[in-house]
Every structure is written in C-alpha cells, then in structure tokens.
Amino acid sequence: MSPTHDPHDLEPLLRRLPVAPAPASLWNDIQAELRAPDRRGTLTVLRRPLRSPLIAAAAILFAIVGGAAAGILRSFAAPSRWAVEPLAGMPAVAGDALAAEGALAMGEWLVTDSVSRARLTVGKLGTADIGPGSRVRLDRGGLTAHRLTVERGSLDAVIEAPPRLFFVRTPAVLATDLGCAYTLEVDSTGATTIHVTAGWVELGEGDVVSLVPAGHGAHVEPGGHPGTPYPEELAPDARAALQRFDAGSGDPADLDLVLAAQYTPSHDITLRRRSAVTLWHLLQRVTPDGRARVFEQLAALSPPPPGATREGILALDRRMLERWRADLSPMWSEEAQPWPHRIARRLWNLVIR
C-alpha cells in the first residue's frame, strides 16, 4: 500500500516551519520610505542599480529583434489575391476565361484544360506553374502561410524563401516547402507523385512524414503513408515494392527487391546518399524482422552516431531515429550551407513551427 498524504498528519510538521522575525530596523526603514516622495516601483531598482541598464538593454534588444521579425514577416506576408498569367491556351479563373494577367482570389479555382497552362505568383516567394488538366484552389493560410489545393493536374514550384511558407495540399498528402523546387502531379484518383529538383520537401503532417531531398521522388496514395523517398533512377519494380510498404502491404520479397536495388558502401558518396534517404525512411515502414535487415544495410553506409543504439533504432525510439537522421542529413544534402545560414535556418524553423 502506498503512503497516503493525510494533511492532518502533515499539519504538525508544517506548523514547525521556522518563523523569522522581521529585522528591528525595518520599521524605521519603512517610515523613512513613507516620508520620502512617492517613488513607486523604484525602490528595488534603486537598491540594485544594475537592473536599470539591464532592463534598458533588454528593451532595446527586444525592439530590434521585434522590428526585424516584423519586417521579415511583412516581406513574407501571404497576399489575399495571387497574380496569375496564362502561359498557354486559355486557363479559367472562377469560371471566367483568362486572356491576360489576372488574379486568383481566396477560395477561387484556377482550371486549365488539356492545352492550357498558367503561372501563379506566390507572393514574394517564387512561382508555381500549373500544367494542363489541372484544378487548383487558393486557400486561406494565415499571416505568412501561402496555401494551394491541387485537386488534380500538375504544379511546378520554384520557391526561394525560408522553409514552411508554401504549402500544397492534394487529396493524398500535404507538401510543405522547405526551400526548394519541385514538380507535383496528382492523378484522377488523387494519388500524388513528387519529384524534387532542389532543396527539400516535407510530405505529410503529424508523426509520420517523409523528407524528400533533391534528386528524389515519392509517391503517396490517398489514405496511405507519406511515400518513402526514392532516387529518381530506382528501378520501377523496386519503386512499386516501396509503395506497397507505404500502403502497409509490403512482404519479405518486396524487401529483398528494395534492398537489392540500393547502393552499397563500394559506391561513391553521392550514390550512397541516395540509398541512405530511402533506408532511413523504410525503417519505420517495415516489420521488426525486416527492420533489422534495413538497419544493417543503412549502418553499413553510415553507422548510427553515439547515443543511437541498434536496440533503440529497432524499437523505433524517436529521439534515436532523429539523431541518426541528423547525422545522415549532411550526406543527403548536396547543398553545403555556411554556418550562419544553418543557424539562421534553425532559428527560423524554431519561430515558424
């Protein structure tokens, strides 16, 4: 039986809290203070003169940081209407044919037929070219979030901005721009395929997401997990096997197929990098038996860092997985960033998330 905490039992103890008589000099101090002009709020400041400069410095710093943040937010503010121009044929905005440059308002649909294309200006972030046979809506996104829904068709985005400002939702997945260029295709069933040509895209939301770097693609079926990223040159049968793991129906033969298609330590780093992306994501999508095989193959490319153990990874310990991912990330990214950029990027991620 665990000890209870009867307050009646504790009371005699707590009443033994030592009393501390106020210093005798305090009465005179109080009277002196009362006789002095009312300097409410300054009493303790005067006792500790160091505080005033500290407070002033903090206020100045706060004003500078606040001003800079406001400036940044203003420059990335999402407009309520996006400029749209026809690139080919006659796209339609809100049902009206668009012959010259126009605007797409919140909630309106941009529709292209089999021959028309259009270019959307994504605030000050970049552009999104809408391919033939597309149906795209501008969504409300808050202060800095630029949001589109692609119901079907294709979108070719080029974004030059900090991460997490441009979002595209399809029937299958949410694609979050992490500073990149990519093409996204949505078929008539809502299945979405993405090809990243620069930077990174995050697919999904919540606990299970995929991070797709440049040179990789991913496929997501409606209702399925965010697709495991794969190198663009991966054989079609291995891609199909990956999709079965994303759908939760992959079997050992599929795993054989995927593992056999990966690059090995004998390949150069560029090729190994491509396999590491796939294998790290695959860890979370295979059965425990298969996970051990994936672990061995990934560890052969790049062993887990200190603090990430085999047992922890096989148990899908979130912190260990993230630690390994962070360790692998430089290998995934082709774009070496100078340290001020890395710090700025981390700060931005902290603020915007």
Binding site: P3, D6, L10, L13, R16, V19, P21, W27, L43
Partner: protein, 198 residues
C-alpha cells in the same frame, strides 16, 4: 516555532481607519501584528534570501500604508495584506529569475532561523517546502503561517478556492513523500501495512 499571533478582525477597522489618516501608531500596530508573518512567508518563498525577504517585507508595508486611504475594505485587512505580500514575492522571484538567467535561487537558510535552535527535522521541513514549485510553496506558506482558509488564500492569490485546494493537495502529496520519515511512526506503520491489528 512558537504560537502564532491570531489576527483580531474586530479591531482591523479601527486600525485601518488610523492608517488611512496616516497615523503612525495605527501603522505600527499593523506592522507589529503582521511583520513577522510577512517576513517569514517572504523568506521561505524566496528560499532563505534574507536581503530579498527584507526588501519584500518593506515593500509590502510601504504599499499598504500608501494605499490605505483608497482601500475599500471589501476584503479583510489581513487578506489584502497577504495579497500584496503574494504579489511582491512573485514579482521578486520573477526579477531574480531574470537576473539569474531563469535559474532558481540556491536554498539558503536565514541567519536568524539557523540561530534560533532549529533541529534537524525543522531544517528538513524548511528544505522540503523550499523545493516545492513557487505556486505550491506560496499556498502552503499562507495556509500554515496564518491559518488562512481556502477562500482567504484564494483571495490572496487571485484564484478560486478549487485551485487552492488542488495546489495544497499536490503540495501535501509531495511533502508527505519527502517528509515520510518525520511523520508519526504509528501513522506510517498503518499506511505501510506493518501494523497487524489496531
């Protein structure tokens, strides 16, 4: 610790009236009645920081005497004074935390307390209360230094009696665990099932 003086509510109105007029005698009465408890609460809340507790005590009485002319006496003098004490303690802790880069203060025992013949148990009780979170600590100090009711503590802390009950419950649970070895042996034996029959 000795017997604590009990507030005399029937005379508060007269004393308060004197304070409103700025009568030093009335102010002295208020000081004599409450200074020890205000200072003790501040000292324990600020985990033994003597200078800060003195500052807080002085600040409380200066505020009370300056604000007395506008005090409408909807709450009792004591409740009002404890409310000012609570706010002053919280403000002081906030200021100190900023200076200490968000760290809590080290636990130090007040000089006069350590010199007043504390036995080992008292020091453990002081330390255990000092380890409570500031919110829980303040509720415990108001409860046990002046026998305030839950309603009075709630008015002093500007929260509901339910919140007070919850804080005290959590504080009691923590203290019961930490001070188990100081509690009456019989009670402890009953709780741990070591007593075969009563």
């Amino acid at each position: 610790m000795g017997a604590r003086p009990v507030a005399e509510p029937e005379r508060d109105a007269d004393i308060l009236e004197g304070c409103r007029r700025g009568d030093p005698t009335a102010q002295r009465r208020v000081f004599e009645r409450y200074a020890e408890r205000v200072h003790s609460i501040a000292l324990h809340y600020l985990r033994g920081d003597d200078a800060a507790a003195k500052d807080v005590t002085q600040e409380v009485f200066v505020k009370v005497f300056r604000a007395a002319p506008t005090f409408r006496a909807e709450a009792g003098l004591g409740t009002w004074l404890y409310r000012i004490t609570a706010n002053a303690c919280i403000d002081e802790l906030r200021r100190r935390r900023r200076l200490l880069f968000f760290g809590d203060m080290p636990l130090r025992l007040h000089g006069s307390v350590t010199a007043s013949g504390l036995d080992e148990g008292d020091a453990e009780i002081t330390a255990a209360v000092g380890r409570l979170s500031p919110r829980l600590r303040l509720a415990v100090l108001l409860r046990y230094f002046d026998d305030l009711s839950y309603e009075e503590i709630a008015r002093a802390l500007d929260c509901t009696p339910g919140t007070v009950a919850s804080r005290l419950h959590r504080a009691h649970a923590i203290l019961a665990r930490e001070l188990a070895h100081l509690r009456p042996a019989r009670r402890l034996a009953e709780e741990t099932g070591d007593v075969a029959d009563a």
